[in-house]
Structures are given as C-alpha cells and as structure tokens.
Symmetry: C2
Subunit: 325 residues, 2 copies
C-alpha cells in the first residue's frame, strides 16, 4: 500500500521513518505548505506542494495528516477527508466529539475512510482504558504521563520575556505510582500525581527570579503543580535536551467476587525515547486499517475504538491466530 504525508515536521518525518519499517508500505510523497525544493526528506521520498494535492488523487491509498491540533487539523482533516482516506493525530481531548462530527460528514460525502486521534494518548492509552474498564466495570482508572517532554508546556515557557529556549518534563510522583500499584485506590490531587521540571536558557542579564516566578505561577500550566526551574546554557540545552522522550502509565484497579473480595490490577506502561516516532508507529497502523476498511466499502470517520485489532496488522488473520493468540 502507498501512504502520503501532509506536513513535514517532527511527526511527518517520523511517519516517513515508520513506513520504511513496514514491508507492506511505501511512501508516495510528502505534501508541504513550504517550498518543496527547500525540503529534503530523510529517506528521499519526493516532495510536492500542498496546494497541488488534488492532482495526485488516486496515486496513493491513505494520507497521514501531520499538523497541530490547535488550528491545523480542525481545518485540514475535514477538508482533505472529502477527497482522500486520511489519518490524523488530533489530541485536544475536549474537542474530539466536534472534530469527529466534522470529519465524519466530510468523509461520508467523499465516501472515504478517516481515522482521527491516533497516537498513544489519545490512542493506545485510550484503548487500554476502554478494554480495562469494560473487563473490570467496578473499579478506578489512573493515568500518569512521563517522564517526558511536554511541548505545550515548553512553548508556554518560551513565550516569557527573557527566555531563549526551554524544555519542560512532566514527571509522575513515585509515591503516587506506588500507592496505586499497592491497590489502595487513593484519591489523588493534580499536585500529588505529577511534578514539572523546567530547564530554561535565559537571555544574558535577564531577571531569573522574575522568569521563575512567571513560570511557577502560570495558571493552568504550572500553578497547580510543584514546579522546579533550572537555568542552563544553550550548550547544555542542545547536548542534554535534544530528544523528545515521553511515556506514562494507565492503571485500572477493580474488584470482583460475590462481595468484591478479589482485587485486580491492570498496568500499561510506555517508555519512549521518541514521542513522535512512537506516535508515527501508531499512525501508520491506522493508515493500514483505513485502507482495509475502504477496500471493504466502508466510509466515514473512525477512531481506534472502532477498528478491530487485526486490521492494524500486516499479518493475515490466519497468521495472527496461529502465532499471536
């Protein structure tokens, strides 16, 4: 099957690399809003202008849309789903129902399959929460993120006057993880679940106390957390904080039995050296599934909840039953 990539940032590059790891898949090309001649792809796939994409209709099976959730995807995914089977990684949890409705209408009109909100959260964490709560209906969910870089929080720090660069790590509180694992089903506040570590490169002569104060009191982003701020040099930033690790934990603790006397614990844990590359691994599986659904005559919007696991795999149902069940 052939995929194409729309948008060539961290996720777009990672999708190109992920497709190269899958023997059943090749990348037809990258579509960019920048000047195609200025972009050199990692594996040498061709680059085309995004505005010309309709001329490529029929040349590939699924378009993986690699844009931001704030403004790109709400506009791009419905527009492109009218003409192509598409996959995106829309991750603004609160706006998923609205995005789903818009994409579903466009994909149905174009008789295409669209899969939204792929990745690990939303994505693999979501599907783990669904399975776990269905199996253990009497129970409690916990999700922890990190240790990993939050791009949104890093960006928020960069907007503070006097800041040249910043990297923010979200870190689960070890005592909270242990309390959940012990089966205590604790009630945890925001502050008890995660801490935030900030590494900041300041302009020469900047007021570091003012920067620290601006960070730790920032509403929504930092005010509800125990936040540490460490000033480092640009060299240290480049040397020690160049990668984008992430991960986290989904727990479900539940009880069964005539009197709820038996406890059960499901723990799903991701440790990722590269957040965009793992996300891309999920996106290309969803692209594979989108093609299978399309080939069966389906259309409309789907999420990972609506896709049978076998449709994500390159293996046949017979191989999966014989070797993975």
């Amino acid at each position: 099957m052939k995929i194409a990539i729309y948008g060539y940032g961290n996720i777009g590059r990672a999708v190109e690399l992920a497709a190269a790891q899958n023997d059943d898949m090749e990348t037809y090309g990258v579509f960019t809003r920048r000047s195609p001649e200025n972009i050199h792809t990692v594996t040498g796939v061709p680059v085309y202008a995004a505005k010309d994409i309709l001329a490529h209709k029929g040349s590939f099976d699924v378009l993986v849309i690699c844009g931001g959730s704030a403004t790109d995807l709400p506009e791009m995914t419905p527009r492109l789903a009218a003409d192509f089977c598409v996959v995106d990684s829309f991750d603004t949890h609160a706006r998923i129902p609205e995005h789903f409705a818009n994409v579903n209408a466009a994909a149905k009109a174009g008789r295409n399959v669209a899969v939204i909100s792929g990745g690990w959260d939303p994505g693999m964490f979501s599907v783990t929460r669904l399975y776990s709560s269905a199996i253990l209906p009497v129970g409690q969910d916990y999700t922890f993120w990190g240790r990993g870089v939050s791009q949104g929080h890093s960006d928020a720090i960069r907007r503070i006057p006097g800041v040249l660069d910043a990297r923010q790590y979200t870190v689960p509180v070890p005592e909270a993880l242990e309390a959940v694992r012990s089966g205590e089903t604790p009630e945890l506040t925001t502050r008890q679940k995660h801490t935030r570590e900030c590494y900041v490169v300041a302009e020469e002569g900047a007021d570091r106390d003012a920067i620290t104060e601006a960070i730790v009191t920032m509403p929504n982003y930092f005010a509800d957390y125990d936040t540490t701020v460490t000033f480092i040099s640009m060299e240290e930033m480049k040397r020690d904080h160049a990668s984008l690790p992430h991960g986290g934990y989904v727990f479900r603790t539940g009880t069964t039995g005539a009197d709820g006397e038996h406890r059960h614990m499901i723990e799903y844990h991701l440790t990722l050296d590269s957040n965009p590359e793992f996300t891309a691994g999920v996106l290309v599986c969803l692209a594979r599934a989108a093609k299978k659904l399309y080939d069966r005559g389906e259309c409309g919007c789907r999420t990972i909840f609506d896709i049978a696991p076998a449709d994500l795999s390159a293996l046949s149902p017979e191989e999966l039953r014989a070797h993975y069940l």
Copy 2:
C-alpha cells in the same frame, strides 16, 4: 441482554458474578450435565439440564461455554454454535486454528456468531502482543506468567502416588524481568524466565524424597525449570492456598529512527487475585460483542483480534469518544 452459562465450575460461577456487575446484562440460567437440583447458584439464577438446552432456544442472546480445553470445548463449542451465539475460553494455543475452523463452519451453518479463546492468555495478552508488534515492527516480545497458580501443573503433581493435594505457582524470575525492562533484549532460556514453586500434601508415611524426585524430573512440566517442593499439612493448604491468583507481563521492546537509535518499551502487567473471575470479566465483554455482531447480521467465528474495542463496552460510541479517548 441475556446470557446463559453452560457448565458450572470455577469459570461458570465467575461468569455469573461478572454478569451481575454489568447493568446491561442478566443471566437467564445455568446449563449443567450434573443433576440440576443439586446445584445452587451464587446469585440464585435457575439451573437447567444441559441435555434440554435446545428447548431454550430464543430465550437468551449468548451462551458462555465454561468447559475444559482438553476435551470439553473441542466438542461443545462447534455443537452449540450451530444453534446459539456462543463464547468460549479455549486456551490450547497450538490447537486454536483447528478449533477456529470447526467452530466457524458450525456458526456459519447456524448463522450464529461464535467468539473463541477469550480470557487473558489467550485474550488480553494476545491483543497486547498484536497491537505492540504492529506499532513496533522492529522489536522483540517477551511474555512472563505469574506469580500464579497453574492448574495443569497442580493436577500433574496430584497424579503422583502418595500425593493428596498440590498447588503449583509459576513465578517470573526477577532478574529476567529487570533485564527485559532495562532494554537489553536478552535471549532467555525457559529456566531463566520462570521458576516453579510446589506445595504438596503427602499421605502419611509417603516417601517424600521419591515424590520430590518425581516432580522435579517430570518432562515438559518441571524438568526444564528450577523447581522447589515444600511439604505442608492439609490445614495449611486450605488456609494459605485456597485462592487462584495469577497474572503476568507482556513486553515489547522495539527500535525506531533512521538508524534504529530510539528505543521504546511497552509493558502490560496483570495482577489478579482470582484468575477465573478476571477471565470471566473478559468472557462477558465478548458475549456483549457477540450480540452486537449478531444484531448487525454477521455470522461465523471470531476472536478478540476481530472485534473492535468499542463492541466490548456497554457505553455508546459517543460516550466512549467523549470520556475514554
């Protein structure tokens, strides 16, 4: 929806309890090959003779077949799938393709939906392996079982002359778990992955050395493992080993990037106080899915690989997208 239960052992009782935890579900009755008047169900559901089951056709939606994989299920599931939508927990991994073919033919002929091999392994462990290897195609899988009671190994010990009762625990080797978690991708032998702890009640005057020797040298079951044998009294057996805990770990370690420079680790970990009750939690979700598939006009055999996660849940697609994605 209404389920019925065929066979009333550990799993059958656990299915009855699991259905009682799900508001969208009630249990129509239990079918038994024993004398119905001698069976008292935990929640008071009626008991019928297995031989009369055809007279109950149309009275319930899905029959959960709770028999053993060695001889019961290979005969029961195809026979009953001809007349009912069914779910089973067939767990002889090597014979799944053959069982699938038999059940598929019967279910198609009867225009019913059958879901086989539900539980946690096969079941949730399988689906975790499928997702993980699809997302990280360049990588390695590890499955560890325990700490938990292996009924097959306990039964094997009970067949040794002089043994009154026995309980065998399968235990993952902590160093092996740590080696995998560290990302070392070790090659592990059978002996390096698990140890086996045996608790044995011997007849008075039995030759304990001979029993120990018979256990630790038993081919397939114990010879390839470091096995410990502890003799205990019947009182200790009843007091300390009455429950059936189990669990285990599925790991996938994989690499991504232009030069495989990024490592990723997926860990799925179950800690279960009651193996049959967790298994039953999965079976009732599969029963719910079987009804949804049947109501859409589908027929034939399915496994958890073929079922969209949303079909396992009692929640609507809208609720799932709004709260679980």
